[in-house]
Protein backbone atom coordinates (compact mmCIF):
# COMPACT_ATOMS: atom_id res chain seq x y z
CA UNK A 1 0.00 0.00 0.00
CA UNK A 2 1.07 3.58 -0.59
CA UNK A 3 2.40 5.79 2.13
CA UNK A 4 -0.61 7.05 4.09
CA UNK A 5 -1.47 10.72 3.82
CA UNK A 6 -1.52 10.99 7.56
CA UNK A 7 0.02 8.58 9.98
CA UNK A 8 -0.36 9.09 13.71
CA UNK A 9 1.99 7.01 15.84
CA UNK A 10 1.72 6.62 19.60
CA UNK A 11 0.65 10.23 19.97
CA UNK A 12 0.46 11.45 23.58
CA UNK A 13 -0.65 14.88 24.76
CA UNK A 14 -0.38 16.21 28.30
CA UNK A 15 -2.31 19.10 29.71
CA UNK A 16 -1.97 20.46 33.20
CA UNK A 17 0.07 17.43 34.20
CA UNK A 18 -2.59 15.04 32.95
CA UNK A 19 -2.28 12.74 29.98
CA UNK A 20 -5.29 13.70 27.85
CA UNK A 21 -4.32 11.66 24.80
CA UNK A 22 -2.67 8.33 25.31
CA UNK A 23 -0.75 6.49 22.57
CA UNK A 24 -3.10 7.29 19.70
CA UNK A 25 -2.22 5.49 16.47
CA UNK A 26 -4.06 5.40 13.16
CA UNK A 27 -3.47 5.98 9.46
CA UNK A 28 -5.55 7.93 6.99
CA UNK A 29 -5.16 7.45 3.25
CA UNK A 30 -5.93 9.88 0.48
CA UNK A 31 -9.65 10.29 -0.06
CA UNK A 32 -10.50 8.32 3.05
CA UNK A 33 -12.84 9.49 5.77
CA UNK A 34 -12.19 8.48 9.35
CA UNK A 35 -14.78 9.27 12.00
CA UNK A 36 -13.69 9.98 15.56
CA UNK A 37 -16.52 9.52 18.02
CA UNK A 38 -16.63 9.64 21.79
CA UNK A 39 -18.28 11.29 24.77
CA UNK A 40 -17.42 14.87 25.72
CA UNK A 41 -14.04 15.01 27.38
CA UNK A 42 -12.80 11.90 25.61
CA UNK A 43 -10.12 13.92 23.80
CA UNK A 44 -11.66 14.36 20.33
CA UNK A 45 -10.87 18.05 19.89
CA UNK A 46 -7.43 17.68 21.43
CA UNK A 47 -6.73 15.00 18.87
CA UNK A 48 -7.79 17.32 16.04
CA UNK A 49 -5.44 20.01 17.26
CA UNK A 50 -2.55 17.65 17.88
CA UNK A 51 -2.86 16.21 14.37
CA UNK A 52 -2.68 19.71 12.89
CA UNK A 53 0.16 20.51 15.23
CA UNK A 54 -1.79 23.33 16.77
CA UNK A 55 -0.50 21.95 20.05
CA UNK A 56 2.66 20.11 20.88
CA UNK A 57 2.50 16.40 21.65
CA UNK A 58 4.28 15.02 24.74
CA UNK A 59 5.30 11.95 22.82
CA UNK A 60 4.78 10.11 19.56
CA UNK A 61 4.67 11.58 16.09
CA UNK A 62 2.45 12.67 13.27
CA UNK A 63 3.66 11.82 9.77
CA UNK A 64 2.37 13.71 6.76
CA UNK A 65 3.00 11.89 3.49
CA UNK A 66 5.51 9.86 5.41
CA UNK A 67 7.45 12.73 6.97
CA UNK A 68 7.50 13.61 10.64
CA UNK A 69 5.75 16.98 11.08
CA UNK A 70 8.27 17.97 13.72
CA UNK A 71 11.16 17.42 11.32
CA UNK A 72 9.78 19.87 8.78
CA UNK A 73 11.34 23.27 8.26
CA UNK A 74 9.26 26.39 8.79
CA UNK A 75 8.82 26.67 5.04
CA UNK A 76 7.79 23.05 4.62
CA UNK A 77 5.39 23.26 7.53
CA UNK A 78 3.75 26.23 5.92
CA UNK A 79 3.25 24.34 2.67
CA UNK A 80 1.89 21.40 4.62
CA UNK A 81 -0.55 23.60 6.50
CA UNK A 82 -2.10 24.60 3.20
CA UNK A 83 -2.96 20.98 2.68
CA UNK A 84 -4.56 20.50 6.11
CA UNK A 85 -7.61 22.56 6.86
CA UNK A 86 -10.03 22.57 9.77
CA UNK A 87 -13.64 23.61 10.27
CA UNK A 88 -14.64 24.32 13.85
CA UNK A 89 -18.02 23.98 15.48
CA UNK A 90 -18.92 27.60 15.93
CA UNK A 91 -18.58 29.93 12.93
CA UNK A 92 -19.31 32.89 15.20
CA UNK A 93 -15.93 32.42 16.85
CA UNK A 94 -13.96 31.08 13.90
CA UNK A 95 -14.75 33.86 11.40
CA UNK A 96 -13.20 37.29 11.88
CA UNK A 97 -16.12 39.66 12.57
CA UNK A 98 -14.34 42.59 10.87
CA UNK A 99 -13.80 40.84 7.55
CA UNK A 100 -16.24 40.47 4.68
CA UNK A 101 -16.92 37.06 3.19
CA UNK A 102 -14.78 38.10 0.23
CA UNK A 103 -11.83 38.94 2.47
CA UNK A 104 -12.31 35.77 4.52
CA UNK A 105 -12.13 33.64 1.39
CA UNK A 106 -9.39 35.68 -0.30
CA UNK A 107 -7.06 35.44 2.70
CA UNK A 108 -6.04 31.79 2.34
CA UNK A 109 -5.58 32.27 -1.42
CA UNK A 110 -3.29 35.25 -0.84
CA UNK A 111 -1.43 33.81 2.13
CA UNK A 112 -0.57 30.68 0.20
CA UNK A 113 -0.06 32.66 -3.04
CA UNK A 114 -2.49 30.44 -4.89
CA UNK A 115 -4.29 33.00 -7.03
CA UNK A 116 -3.84 36.60 -8.04
CA UNK A 117 -5.85 39.39 -9.65
CA UNK A 118 -9.13 38.45 -11.30
CA UNK A 119 -8.56 34.78 -10.75
CA UNK A 120 -9.14 35.37 -7.04
CA UNK A 121 -12.63 36.60 -7.67
CA UNK A 122 -13.45 33.70 -9.95
CA UNK A 123 -12.11 31.21 -7.44
CA UNK A 124 -14.12 32.75 -4.60
CA UNK A 125 -17.33 32.64 -6.58
CA UNK A 126 -16.66 29.00 -7.42
CA UNK A 127 -16.07 28.24 -3.74
CA UNK A 128 -19.34 29.90 -2.80
CA UNK A 129 -21.14 27.84 -5.43
CA UNK A 130 -19.59 24.74 -4.01
CA UNK A 131 -21.11 25.40 -0.59
CA UNK A 132 -24.39 26.51 -2.12
CA UNK A 133 -24.09 30.24 -1.45
CA UNK A 134 -24.78 33.03 -3.95
CA UNK A 135 -22.67 36.07 -4.81
CA UNK A 136 -24.98 38.27 -2.70
CA UNK A 137 -23.09 37.27 0.46
CA UNK A 138 -19.69 38.43 -0.88
CA UNK A 139 -19.55 41.78 0.87
CA UNK A 140 -21.29 40.80 4.06
CA UNK A 141 -19.72 40.46 7.47
CA UNK A 142 -20.28 37.32 9.53
CA UNK A 143 -22.93 38.97 11.71
CA UNK A 144 -24.97 39.66 8.58
CA UNK A 145 -25.19 35.95 7.80
CA UNK A 146 -27.50 33.33 9.23
CA UNK A 147 -25.84 30.60 11.31
CA UNK A 148 -26.10 28.17 8.42
CA UNK A 149 -24.63 30.64 5.93
CA UNK A 150 -21.73 31.42 8.29
CA UNK A 151 -20.86 27.73 8.65
CA UNK A 152 -20.92 27.37 4.86
CA UNK A 153 -18.45 30.26 4.63
CA UNK A 154 -16.22 28.53 7.20
CA UNK A 155 -16.30 25.40 5.05
CA UNK A 156 -15.59 27.38 1.87
CA UNK A 157 -12.59 28.98 3.56
CA UNK A 158 -11.26 25.55 4.52
CA UNK A 159 -11.69 24.35 0.92
CA UNK A 160 -10.10 27.49 -0.59
CA UNK A 161 -6.47 26.26 -0.59
CA UNK A 162 -7.53 22.89 -2.08
CA UNK A 163 -6.55 20.84 0.96
CA UNK A 164 -5.73 17.16 0.92
CA UNK A 165 -7.12 16.75 4.44
CA UNK A 166 -10.15 18.36 5.99
CA UNK A 167 -10.61 18.11 9.75
CA UNK A 168 -14.21 18.74 10.79
CA UNK A 169 -14.34 19.25 14.55
CA UNK A 170 -18.03 18.94 15.45
CA UNK A 171 -18.46 21.19 12.45
CA UNK A 172 -22.07 20.25 11.86
CA UNK A 173 -23.24 19.58 15.41
CA UNK A 174 -24.89 22.92 16.03
CA UNK A 175 -26.59 23.37 12.67
CA UNK A 176 -30.02 22.17 11.70
CA UNK A 177 -30.58 18.81 10.06
CA UNK A 178 -31.03 20.07 6.53
CA UNK A 179 -27.68 21.85 6.57
CA UNK A 180 -26.12 18.82 8.26
CA UNK A 181 -27.36 16.63 5.45
CA UNK A 182 -26.21 19.08 2.77
CA UNK A 183 -22.75 19.17 4.30
CA UNK A 184 -22.66 15.37 4.55
CA UNK A 185 -23.49 15.10 0.86
CA UNK A 186 -20.98 17.79 -0.03
CA UNK A 187 -18.20 16.02 1.87
CA UNK A 188 -19.10 12.80 0.11
CA UNK A 189 -18.78 14.53 -3.24
CA UNK A 190 -15.49 16.20 -2.39
CA UNK A 191 -14.11 12.86 -1.44
CA UNK A 192 -15.05 11.41 -4.80
CA UNK A 193 -14.16 14.36 -7.02
CA UNK A 194 -11.22 15.98 -5.26
CA UNK A 195 -10.05 12.96 -3.30
CA UNK A 196 -10.05 14.93 -0.05
CA UNK A 197 -9.41 12.90 3.06
CA UNK A 198 -11.46 13.80 6.09
CA UNK A 199 -11.11 13.42 9.82
CA UNK A 200 -14.70 13.75 10.92
CA UNK A 201 -14.99 14.43 14.64
CA UNK A 202 -18.48 14.19 16.02
CA UNK A 203 -20.60 12.95 18.84
CA UNK A 204 -23.34 12.05 16.38
CA UNK A 205 -22.78 8.42 15.55
CA UNK A 206 -25.60 8.30 13.00
CA UNK A 207 -24.06 10.98 10.80
CA UNK A 208 -20.61 9.53 11.32
CA UNK A 209 -21.79 6.12 10.20
CA UNK A 210 -23.26 7.61 7.03
CA UNK A 211 -20.17 9.62 6.18
CA UNK A 212 -17.16 7.60 7.17
CA UNK A 213 -15.27 4.61 5.83
CA UNK A 214 -13.90 3.80 9.24
CA UNK A 215 -14.72 4.92 12.76
CA UNK A 216 -12.44 5.20 15.79
CA UNK A 217 -14.05 5.30 19.22
CA UNK A 218 -12.24 7.46 21.72
CA UNK A 219 -12.63 7.08 25.46
CA UNK A 220 -10.58 8.79 28.15
CA UNK A 221 -7.98 9.84 25.65
CA UNK A 222 -7.41 6.43 24.08
CA UNK A 223 -8.78 4.68 21.01
CA UNK A 224 -10.73 1.73 22.37
CA UNK A 225 -11.99 0.43 19.04
CA UNK A 226 -11.37 1.20 15.39
CA UNK A 227 -13.08 -0.56 12.52
CA UNK A 228 -14.93 -0.24 9.24
CA UNK A 229 -18.04 1.86 9.91
CA UNK A 230 -20.54 -0.85 9.02
CA UNK A 231 -18.71 -3.51 11.01
CA UNK A 232 -18.37 -1.26 14.04
CA UNK A 233 -22.09 -0.59 14.12
CA UNK A 234 -23.05 -4.18 13.39
CA UNK A 235 -20.71 -5.85 15.83
CA UNK A 236 -19.30 -3.42 18.39
CA UNK A 237 -16.65 -4.97 20.59
CA UNK A 238 -16.05 -2.39 23.28
CA UNK A 239 -18.60 -1.37 25.90
CA UNK A 240 -18.11 2.34 25.11
CA UNK A 241 -18.97 1.66 21.48
CA UNK A 242 -22.06 -0.25 22.57
CA UNK A 243 -23.15 2.60 24.83
CA UNK A 244 -22.73 5.15 22.03
CA UNK A 245 -24.72 2.96 19.65
CA UNK A 246 -27.49 2.50 22.21
CA UNK A 247 -27.72 6.26 22.76
CA UNK A 248 -27.75 6.94 19.02
CA UNK A 249 -30.47 4.41 18.44
CA UNK A 250 -32.63 5.93 21.11
CA UNK A 251 -32.51 9.30 19.40
CA UNK A 252 -33.50 7.72 16.13
CA UNK A 253 -36.77 8.94 14.77
CA UNK A 254 -37.38 7.54 11.35
CA UNK A 255 -36.48 9.51 8.31
CA UNK A 256 -38.96 9.58 5.51
Amino acid sequence: MNVPLLQVEDLCVDRGGLRVLDRISFALHEGETLGIVGASGSGKSTLARAVLRLLEPADGRVRWRGRDLRALSERELRATRREMQIVFQDPATSLDPRMTVFAILAEPLLVHRLERGHAIEQRILALLREVDLGPEVLYRHPHELSGGQAQRVALARALAPSPALLVADEAFSAVDVSLQAQMANLLGELRRTASIACLFISHDLRFTAVLCDRIAVLSRGAIVEIAEAAALVRAPRHEVTRALIAAAQESGIQRR
Binding site: G41, Q149, L205, Q249, I253
Partner: protein, 310 residues
Amino acid sequence: MRFQTGGASFLAVDRVSFDLERGEALGLIGESGSGKTTIALSLLRLLPAGAQLSGRVELSGEDLLGLDPDALARIRGRRIAMVFHDPLAALNPVLSIGTQIAEAVRAHQSIDRRRARTAAVGLLRTVGLPAENADRYAHQLSGGMRQRALIAMSLACRPEILVADEPTSALDPIAQVGILELLRGLREERGVSLLLATHDLGTAARLCSRLAVLYAGRIVESGATSELLASPRHPYTLGLLRSLPPPLGSSGPVRLEPVAGSAPPPWERPDGCRFRNRCPRAQDDCSKREPELIEIDGRQLACFHPVETQ
Protein backbone atom coordinates in the same frame (compact mmCIF):
# COMPACT_ATOMS: atom_id res chain seq x y z
CA MET B 1 -41.36 40.89 18.19
CA ARG B 2 -39.13 43.46 16.62
CA PHE B 3 -35.43 44.02 17.17
CA GLN B 4 -33.91 47.43 16.79
CA THR B 5 -30.27 47.30 15.74
CA GLY B 6 -28.65 50.62 14.97
CA GLY B 7 -30.87 52.32 12.41
CA ALA B 8 -32.50 49.19 11.09
CA SER B 9 -35.11 47.05 12.70
CA PHE B 10 -36.42 43.67 11.79
CA LEU B 11 -39.07 41.25 12.91
CA ALA B 12 -37.30 38.34 14.57
CA VAL B 13 -40.52 36.58 15.45
CA ASP B 14 -43.72 37.30 13.64
CA ARG B 15 -47.24 36.53 14.90
CA VAL B 16 -46.36 33.36 16.75
CA SER B 17 -49.19 31.87 18.81
CA PHE B 18 -49.29 28.68 20.81
CA ASP B 19 -50.80 27.21 23.97
CA LEU B 20 -49.07 25.15 26.59
CA GLU B 21 -51.29 23.06 28.81
CA ARG B 22 -50.48 22.09 32.37
CA GLY B 23 -48.17 19.07 32.37
CA GLU B 24 -47.70 19.23 28.63
CA ALA B 25 -44.42 19.20 26.70
CA LEU B 26 -44.34 21.30 23.56
CA GLY B 27 -41.37 21.34 21.21
CA LEU B 28 -40.46 24.46 19.26
CA ILE B 29 -38.40 23.18 16.33
CA GLY B 30 -36.29 25.57 14.37
CA GLU B 31 -32.85 26.09 12.94
CA SER B 32 -30.55 28.82 14.18
CA GLY B 33 -32.09 32.18 13.40
CA SER B 34 -35.62 30.82 13.23
CA GLY B 35 -36.61 32.70 16.38
CA LYS B 36 -36.93 29.88 18.88
CA THR B 37 -34.58 31.38 21.46
CA THR B 38 -36.21 34.78 21.02
CA ILE B 39 -39.58 33.23 21.79
CA ALA B 40 -38.20 31.43 24.84
CA LEU B 41 -36.64 34.62 26.21
CA SER B 42 -39.64 36.80 25.48
CA LEU B 43 -41.90 34.64 27.63
CA LEU B 44 -40.00 35.98 30.63
CA ARG B 45 -39.19 39.33 29.07
CA LEU B 46 -35.50 38.55 29.14
CA LEU B 47 -34.85 40.12 25.76
CA PRO B 48 -32.10 42.69 25.37
CA ALA B 49 -32.85 46.39 25.44
CA GLY B 50 -33.98 47.52 22.01
CA ALA B 51 -36.31 44.60 21.48
CA GLN B 52 -39.90 45.61 20.98
CA LEU B 53 -42.54 43.16 21.91
CA SER B 54 -46.15 43.17 20.83
CA GLY B 55 -48.88 40.63 21.39
CA ARG B 56 -49.71 38.83 24.60
CA VAL B 57 -48.13 36.17 26.80
CA GLU B 58 -50.79 34.92 29.18
CA LEU B 59 -50.08 32.80 32.21
CA SER B 60 -53.33 31.46 33.64
CA GLY B 61 -55.08 34.39 32.00
CA GLU B 62 -52.71 37.12 33.23
CA ASP B 63 -50.78 39.07 30.58
CA LEU B 64 -47.06 38.92 31.45
CA LEU B 65 -46.11 41.63 29.00
CA GLY B 66 -48.10 44.19 30.97
CA LEU B 67 -46.62 43.36 34.39
CA ASP B 68 -44.49 45.80 36.39
CA PRO B 69 -40.96 44.62 37.31
CA ASP B 70 -41.91 43.50 40.82
CA ALA B 71 -44.80 41.40 39.63
CA LEU B 72 -42.64 39.98 36.87
CA ALA B 73 -39.94 39.04 39.39
CA ARG B 74 -42.51 36.98 41.26
CA ILE B 75 -43.27 35.02 38.07
CA ARG B 76 -39.67 34.44 37.04
CA GLY B 77 -38.25 31.31 38.57
CA ARG B 78 -41.34 30.76 40.66
CA ARG B 79 -43.87 30.03 37.97
CA ILE B 80 -41.77 29.97 34.82
CA ALA B 81 -38.12 28.95 35.01
CA MET B 82 -35.54 28.80 32.28
CA VAL B 83 -32.77 26.33 31.45
CA PHE B 84 -30.16 27.60 29.01
CA HIS B 85 -28.13 25.57 26.58
CA ASP B 86 -24.71 26.43 27.94
CA PRO B 87 -24.54 25.50 31.62
CA LEU B 88 -20.93 26.61 31.91
CA ALA B 89 -21.98 30.16 31.04
CA ALA B 90 -25.07 30.00 33.23
CA LEU B 91 -23.34 28.73 36.36
CA ASN B 92 -21.18 30.92 38.58
CA PRO B 93 -17.61 29.58 38.42
CA VAL B 94 -16.57 30.83 41.87
CA LEU B 95 -19.48 29.52 43.92
CA SER B 96 -20.00 25.88 44.74
CA ILE B 97 -22.99 24.24 43.08
CA GLY B 98 -24.74 23.85 46.45
CA THR B 99 -24.24 27.50 47.36
CA GLN B 100 -25.67 28.65 44.05
CA ILE B 101 -28.73 26.49 44.31
CA ALA B 102 -29.27 27.53 47.95
CA GLU B 103 -29.02 31.12 46.81
CA ALA B 104 -31.73 30.53 44.25
CA VAL B 105 -33.90 28.94 46.93
CA ARG B 106 -33.40 31.90 49.30
CA ALA B 107 -34.09 34.41 46.56
CA HIS B 108 -37.64 33.20 46.46
CA GLN B 109 -38.33 31.80 49.93
CA SER B 110 -37.56 33.27 53.33
CA ILE B 111 -35.71 30.38 54.94
CA ASP B 112 -32.35 30.29 56.71
CA ARG B 113 -29.07 29.25 55.10
CA ARG B 114 -29.00 25.83 56.60
CA ARG B 115 -32.43 24.86 55.44
CA ALA B 116 -31.70 26.35 52.02
CA ARG B 117 -28.60 24.17 51.87
CA THR B 118 -30.61 21.08 52.75
CA ALA B 119 -33.12 22.03 50.09
CA ALA B 120 -30.28 22.41 47.57
CA VAL B 121 -28.98 18.94 48.30
CA GLY B 122 -32.52 17.61 47.92
CA LEU B 123 -32.82 19.31 44.53
CA LEU B 124 -29.53 17.80 43.41
CA ARG B 125 -30.84 14.37 44.33
CA THR B 126 -34.00 15.06 42.36
CA VAL B 127 -31.92 15.58 39.22
CA GLY B 128 -29.84 12.48 39.90
CA LEU B 129 -26.72 14.10 41.36
CA PRO B 130 -25.33 12.66 44.62
CA ALA B 131 -25.08 15.05 47.58
CA GLU B 132 -21.29 15.43 47.41
CA ASN B 133 -21.69 17.49 44.24
CA ALA B 134 -23.02 20.36 46.36
CA ASP B 135 -19.43 21.15 47.37
CA ARG B 136 -18.08 21.02 43.83
CA TYR B 137 -17.61 23.86 41.38
CA ALA B 138 -18.92 24.02 37.82
CA HIS B 139 -15.53 23.25 36.28
CA GLN B 140 -15.29 20.04 38.28
CA LEU B 141 -18.45 18.63 36.73
CA SER B 142 -18.97 17.03 33.33
CA GLY B 143 -21.25 18.72 30.78
CA GLY B 144 -24.15 16.45 31.62
CA MET B 145 -23.72 17.01 35.38
CA ARG B 146 -23.62 20.77 34.87
CA GLN B 147 -26.84 20.66 32.92
CA ARG B 148 -28.39 18.62 35.73
CA ALA B 149 -27.17 21.17 38.28
CA LEU B 150 -28.71 23.96 36.23
CA ILE B 151 -32.01 22.11 36.05
CA ALA B 152 -31.83 21.58 39.84
CA MET B 153 -31.47 25.33 40.25
CA SER B 154 -34.37 26.05 37.95
CA LEU B 155 -36.50 23.75 40.08
CA ALA B 156 -35.65 25.67 43.27
CA CYS B 157 -39.05 27.37 43.39
CA ARG B 158 -41.12 24.58 41.98
CA PRO B 159 -41.98 26.30 38.73
CA GLU B 160 -45.06 25.29 36.81
CA ILE B 161 -43.36 25.82 33.47
CA LEU B 162 -39.80 24.98 32.51
CA VAL B 163 -38.52 26.68 29.37
CA ALA B 164 -35.50 24.79 28.05
CA ASP B 165 -33.46 26.26 25.21
CA GLU B 166 -31.37 23.53 23.53
CA PRO B 167 -30.77 21.79 26.88
CA THR B 168 -29.01 18.84 25.28
CA SER B 169 -27.24 20.17 22.21
CA ALA B 170 -23.94 20.80 23.99
CA LEU B 171 -23.92 17.26 25.38
CA ASP B 172 -22.72 13.96 24.01
CA PRO B 173 -25.42 11.40 23.17
CA ILE B 174 -25.05 9.44 26.38
CA ALA B 175 -25.49 12.54 28.54
CA GLN B 176 -28.34 13.65 26.26
CA VAL B 177 -30.33 10.52 27.01
CA GLY B 178 -29.94 11.18 30.74
CA ILE B 179 -31.13 14.78 30.54
CA LEU B 180 -34.12 13.81 28.42
CA GLU B 181 -35.10 11.13 30.93
CA LEU B 182 -34.80 13.70 33.70
CA LEU B 183 -37.03 16.23 31.91
CA ARG B 184 -39.54 13.52 31.08
CA GLY B 185 -39.64 12.51 34.74
CA LEU B 186 -40.24 16.10 35.87
CA ARG B 187 -43.21 16.34 33.57
CA GLU B 188 -44.67 12.96 34.40
CA GLU B 189 -44.07 12.93 38.15
CA ARG B 190 -44.34 16.61 39.06
CA GLY B 191 -46.63 17.84 36.34
CA VAL B 192 -44.16 20.47 35.18
CA SER B 193 -45.03 21.87 31.75
CA LEU B 194 -42.13 21.93 29.33
CA LEU B 195 -41.40 24.26 26.46
CA LEU B 196 -38.44 22.80 24.61
CA ALA B 197 -36.76 24.99 22.00
CA THR B 198 -34.41 22.94 19.84
CA HIS B 199 -33.08 22.34 16.36
CA ASP B 200 -32.98 18.64 17.05
CA LEU B 201 -36.12 16.95 15.83
CA GLY B 202 -35.13 13.67 17.46
CA THR B 203 -34.79 15.22 20.92
CA ALA B 204 -38.10 17.02 20.61
CA ALA B 205 -39.90 13.95 19.33
CA ARG B 206 -38.74 11.91 22.30
CA LEU B 207 -39.92 14.39 24.86
CA CYS B 208 -42.85 16.30 23.43
CA SER B 209 -46.39 15.27 22.62
CA ARG B 210 -46.84 18.30 20.38
CA LEU B 211 -44.44 20.04 18.02
CA ALA B 212 -44.46 23.47 16.43
CA VAL B 213 -42.10 23.87 13.49
CA LEU B 214 -40.66 27.36 13.09
CA TYR B 215 -39.29 28.74 9.89
CA ALA B 216 -37.88 32.25 9.58
CA GLY B 217 -39.73 33.61 12.60
CA ARG B 218 -43.13 32.01 12.01
CA ILE B 219 -44.76 28.73 12.89
CA VAL B 220 -45.34 26.86 9.63
CA GLU B 221 -46.83 23.68 11.02
CA SER B 222 -47.88 22.39 14.41
CA GLY B 223 -49.68 19.37 15.71
CA ALA B 224 -49.40 16.10 17.62
CA THR B 225 -45.85 14.74 17.37
CA SER B 226 -46.92 11.32 16.13
CA GLU B 227 -49.07 12.78 13.35
CA LEU B 228 -46.52 15.37 12.32
CA LEU B 229 -43.80 12.75 11.97
CA ALA B 230 -46.03 10.18 10.30
CA SER B 231 -47.50 12.60 7.81
CA PRO B 232 -45.81 15.98 7.56
CA ARG B 233 -47.88 18.42 5.50
CA HIS B 234 -45.58 21.43 5.28
CA PRO B 235 -42.78 20.91 2.73
CA TYR B 236 -40.28 22.24 5.28
CA THR B 237 -41.31 19.67 7.90
CA LEU B 238 -41.02 16.94 5.26
CA GLY B 239 -37.62 18.31 4.28
CA LEU B 240 -36.40 18.15 7.86
CA LEU B 241 -37.45 14.52 8.16
CA ARG B 242 -35.82 13.61 4.84
CA SER B 243 -32.57 15.20 5.99
CA LEU B 244 -32.17 12.77 8.87
CA PRO B 245 -29.57 10.04 8.55
CA PRO B 246 -30.95 6.51 8.31
CA PRO B 247 -31.04 4.29 11.40
CA LEU B 248 -27.73 2.78 12.42
CA GLY B 249 -26.86 -0.42 10.69
CA SER B 250 -28.92 0.13 7.55
CA SER B 251 -26.95 -0.99 4.56
CA GLY B 252 -26.22 0.40 1.14
CA PRO B 253 -24.87 3.71 -0.02
CA VAL B 254 -26.61 6.68 1.49
CA ARG B 255 -27.36 9.99 -0.03
CA LEU B 256 -29.32 12.25 2.27
CA GLU B 257 -32.09 14.41 0.85
CA PRO B 258 -31.81 17.77 2.56
CA VAL B 259 -33.87 20.88 1.93
CA ALA B 260 -31.92 22.89 -0.64
CA GLY B 261 -30.36 26.25 0.22
CA SER B 262 -30.31 27.89 3.61
CA ALA B 263 -32.68 29.97 5.69
CA PRO B 264 -32.43 33.71 5.08
CA PRO B 265 -31.39 35.98 7.92
CA PRO B 266 -34.36 37.86 9.44
CA TRP B 267 -33.70 41.08 7.52
CA GLU B 268 -34.07 39.54 4.11
CA ARG B 269 -36.95 37.17 4.24
CA PRO B 270 -38.76 36.96 0.90
CA ASP B 271 -42.24 38.33 0.24
CA GLY B 272 -45.08 35.90 0.26
CA CYS B 273 -44.24 32.53 1.73
CA ARG B 274 -40.88 32.73 3.48
CA PHE B 275 -39.98 29.20 2.51
CA ARG B 276 -40.78 29.50 -1.20
CA ASN B 277 -37.17 29.97 -2.40
CA ARG B 278 -36.25 26.59 -0.99
CA CYS B 279 -39.54 24.85 -1.60
CA PRO B 280 -39.88 22.12 -4.23
CA ARG B 281 -43.67 22.66 -4.27
CA ALA B 282 -43.70 26.44 -4.66
CA GLN B 283 -45.90 27.98 -7.36
CA ASP B 284 -46.64 31.53 -8.51
CA ASP B 285 -49.15 32.33 -5.80
CA CYS B 286 -46.57 31.58 -3.08
CA SER B 287 -44.70 34.78 -3.92
CA LYS B 288 -47.83 36.94 -3.95
CA ARG B 289 -49.30 36.35 -0.53
CA GLU B 290 -48.08 34.89 2.71
CA PRO B 291 -49.98 31.77 3.73
CA GLU B 292 -51.69 32.14 7.09
CA LEU B 293 -51.46 29.48 9.75
CA ILE B 294 -54.81 27.76 9.58
CA GLU B 295 -56.42 24.70 11.11
CA ILE B 296 -56.47 21.72 8.73
CA ASP B 297 -57.27 18.13 9.74
CA GLY B 298 -56.51 18.69 13.41
CA ARG B 299 -53.24 20.51 12.88
CA GLN B 300 -52.12 24.01 12.04
CA LEU B 301 -50.52 24.59 8.69
CA ALA B 302 -49.31 27.63 6.74
CA CYS B 303 -48.98 26.45 3.16
CA PHE B 304 -50.87 26.90 -0.12
CA HIS B 305 -49.62 23.63 -1.58
CA PRO B 306 -49.20 21.19 1.27
CA VAL B 307 -47.85 17.68 0.95
CA GLU B 308 -50.72 15.24 0.35
CA THR B 309 -51.78 13.13 3.31
CA GLN B 310 -50.56 9.59 3.13
